[in-house]
Symmetry: C2
Subunit: 335 residues, 2 copies
DNA sequence: TCAAATTACGAAAACGATTAAGTAAAATAA
DNA sequence: TTATTTTACTTAATCGTTTTCGTAATTTGA
């Protein structure tokens, strides 16, 4: 392994000079700087990151908190795409990403301890129980941090525009002539809250009457529960003409139930998903949904996190909102 | 940040003693060992991994080469599940995982250089172009390494049993009375080769006549190409009664085309996928497929890699074969 | 022409751990 | 009793960098 020492010997200068030359210090002459850099390249020098980290406390390593719950995790395409965005943006900025876990060797540690131990320059939190006390503890350490789809007090966050997302869908549905719209929304979270609030606002704006039976809760990604909720809606005396689902996956659960009841989509009833996963497009009928820019969210998270790491003074901890767009499929009928 | 030095001061011993006590060296008395460990725990000591890495060249960090091609990558549920298996097994053994990329700072480097720079203890290669010269170079560095779904000369590999997978499917189809079976197989790779070979072997064993038009190639995950191939099969004078697809995703492409031609599944024609992604189960009709134990493959990869890292002498570089199983859906008719 | 400022480099300490080698004290052997 | 071994530590070097401080040599200013 070639080290600064070897380069120093080859150039007949000291290791200090080599280090400074490589890091573009101003007290090195142009001549030696180019000499050192040329030799370094020629000898295939790469800095030992452990030594750099030890000396500077910078690892160029970003920790990612991504918990694989039963219903979601990496298997969920939305999060897979967020991760992909994170990965490629980090790569393009010369950082690497590592999953945060709960173990160091054979010892259980908290997320905070884990991050301290691995000395991450920054942390991205996504797809997780934001009420977990360990997450709270991590957030309060002061480490540069970006959350995805959740806003803590005074931290930087990347969120999708859930208010606008639901509004766009509602406007589309209204234009398509729907007046009796049911909303099966996801489990309690800030995302759900924003969507539900937006739903009611739109309903009011359009002068729609939303009976309380039209709104119910279903865990995200839980296909059986969504079928069950759908069943209840179909059994209503005054059936909705369209059902909004928490996500595309649960929409499929609903669609299957509707079909099994001998009804057809969209002729008998319209359905709308959320997320814009690839199956929404290839499903027959294709599902009208709100396509979230998941990769964009991931890459924005990394870009802003690196700002926070490299320019902590001038970077303000803002809340970045990423827009999605209605992806029109064949699951909504023109009434 | 509390270091060995602080513990040494608190215990009135030298830093060497602290280090040895924490690492269970034999030349430390029981008394001081427990004292040191107690103090370390009390003070919340965690080793600085950079220092450990610098001194011992061990990082407890595994590099993962996972390239996100256009058609696959993390968005593919199979690989997402492999990754999940990797992640959880690594966590349970106290290692962390980091994606291998091509950049260090603002400099393009090869995979090999990247791994050297980050000093990964070992590497897992999955979901990638195994003919990439950079991958070859990495494989030949001698770093502990496990490949997934590909066997290099003399490296450890985790593969799914593609021969048995196809055989199990073929046996099932034969039992269901199918004799005219078409196989749209994936693009060139060792996985495809094993499957195609197994397909022909089974055909021979069952005395099936497979006209050459029944076998064609379609890129994995390419839904349009699979629809196109399906069309050709439907246009044949002597239509197959069942079509095998490269994966579940392409099977859906085929199914959609078949339905659009006014045919019904499985009554008019049967289809079979491969992988066992979640959509195969919730699709209507549910798709009969070979469910691969993707998570198992990931966790086996990590377990064996760690063996290789920690016991290089006694661990032999074998090829581990993980079995899948036929997941029976409603896409195959009893003939 | 001589002092002051600038330029370009080197010596050495430091980061936080590990570990080989050395050494007193205690235990055992002869 | 004395020599030898064992026990339980400590000293100090080391890993590969970065960075402070010092200092010759050169340039500039008056």
């Amino acid at each position: 392994m070639v080290s600064v020492k070897d380069i120093a010997a080859a150039c007949h200068v000291s290791v200090a000079t080599v280090s400074k030359a490589l890091n573009d210090y101003s007290d090195i002459s142009e001549k030696t700087r180019t000499l050192v850099k040329a030799k370094a390249a020629e000898m295939g020098y790469l800095p030992n990151m452990a030594a750099v980290a030890l000396k500077t406390s910078r690892t160029y390593n970003i920790g990612i908190l991504f918990v694989d719950g039963a219903n979601s995790g990496l298997k969920h395409e939305f999060f897979a795409r967020v991760l992909q965005g994170i990965k490629s943006q980090a790569e393009s900025q010369g950082y690497c990403i590592t999953f945060i876990t709960n173990r160091i060797g054979d010892k259980e540690v908290s997320y905070k301890e884990y991050c301290r131990n691995r000395q991450f320059d920054g942390v991205i939190i996504a797809c997780i129980d934001f009420n977990d006390p360990q997450v709270l503890e991590l957030v309060n350490t002061g480490i540069p941090l970006v959350t995805i789809d959740h806003v803590f007090n005074n931290t930087m966050a990347i969120t999708s525009d859930n208010v606008k997302g639901i509004r766009d869908l509602m406007e589309y549905l209204y234009e398509m002539g729907h007046r009796k719209i049911a909303y099966i929304h996801g489990g309690d979270s800030s995302v759900t809250q924003a969507r539900v609030t937006s739903f009611y606002q739109c309903a009011e704006r359009f002068g729609l009457n939303i009976p309380s039976e039209y709104v119910m809760e279903c865990e995200y990604h839980d296909i059986e529960e969504s079928a069950h909720c759908t069943e209840k809606l179909l059994d209503l005396k005054d059936r909705p003409t369209c059902i909004l689902y928490p996500d595309d996956y649960t929409a499929i659960g609903g669609i299957n139930l509707i079909k099994n009841r001998g009804l057809s989509i969209p002729d008998d009833i319209s359905v709308v998903g959320y997320d814009g996963i690839s199956y929404a497009e290839i499903h027959e009928p294709s599902i009208t949904t709100l396509k979230q820019e998941a990769e964009e969210m991931g890459s924005q998270a990394v870009a802003h996190l690196i700002d926070l790491i490299e320019r902590p003074k001038t970077t303000l901890k803002e809340q970045i909102v990423v827009q999605g767009a209605v992806l029109i499929g064949n699951s909504v009928k023109k009434n």
